[in-house]
Symmetry: C2
Amino acid sequence: MNDLSQEQQVAFQAACRQAGLRLTPQRIEIFRELARAKDHPSAETLHRRLVERMPSLSLDTVYRTLGTLASHGLIMRVDTIESQARYEVAQLLHHHLICRSCKEIFDFQWQSVDNAALPDAVKSWGRVERKNVVAYGICNKCLKK
Amino acid sequence: MNDLSQEQQVAFQAACRQAGLRLTPQRIEIFRELARAKDHPSAETLHRRLVERMPSLSLDTVYRTLGTLASHGLIMRVDTIESQARYEVAQLLHHHLICRSCKEIFDFQWQSVDNAALPDAVKSWGRVERKNVVAYGICNKCLKK
DNA sequence: CTAGCTGCAAAAGATTTGCATGTCC
DNA sequence: GGACATGCAAATCTTTTGCAGCTAG
């Protein structure tokens, strides 16, 4: 509910420097808005929220910035079956529950999977860097409708 | 390597009838090609393969058919972070390994996750219908390059 | 100063839609 | 026969790109 925590902001700036990325007002605001958002927004959605504060911000910059930050691992692109890409700040390991009716994404933790070793067959595939569970179903809000 | 199994084809036709979908040559061929494919093809890719056998088949029909079949649960749309949607026939429960270099998708089984109960926090969310693991990394082929 | 960003506009890529014609049941 | 599908073309939506001016370091 509050604004972006001081540490998170400092960590972001340090990570940008380390990655050789310039710290522009646009990048700072885009990251701040994404970190504050709880709903895995798309580029379009983020832009809509940001232009109120930053009227000159272009949608292209939002697209470009999200792509740049994601490619440096500062944020994550979330897999969905929608046509629009969604993003989130890379935080604690977590998993996604997606409602196939309203498309809302709910985050949850599942440490037994985080800690579990992948099956043997996977070992010969290559190097696995992360694993996420995506569960689908219908959320209570939609079930009640 | 062989063609679509007899049972699979019969099951498909029965499922179409049950869903109230007409059995057109296009639908049959699209499903057959997808069932034969091992690479989670996109609409574009499927169309490229099918026009050789069915020169009049339009790309629109492939898009429409994939959408229709997916919405009836006969095939699945696979989540990736690419812009193109990919499909697979709904088969045994399985999970995906995606190479972030070549984008190839490798299927694997992981029964301990299939059988595991979701964490308690999820129970109050709604009704979960399926859960899939998506793991990312680099496959051996790309590691060697 | 200058490589890296941004904004603008235009392009490209993926998917959807309207409509007339064809075809499954 | 009539509802549903298809093919075509055009539209739409999302994302990317070229370029000139701006700016952080």
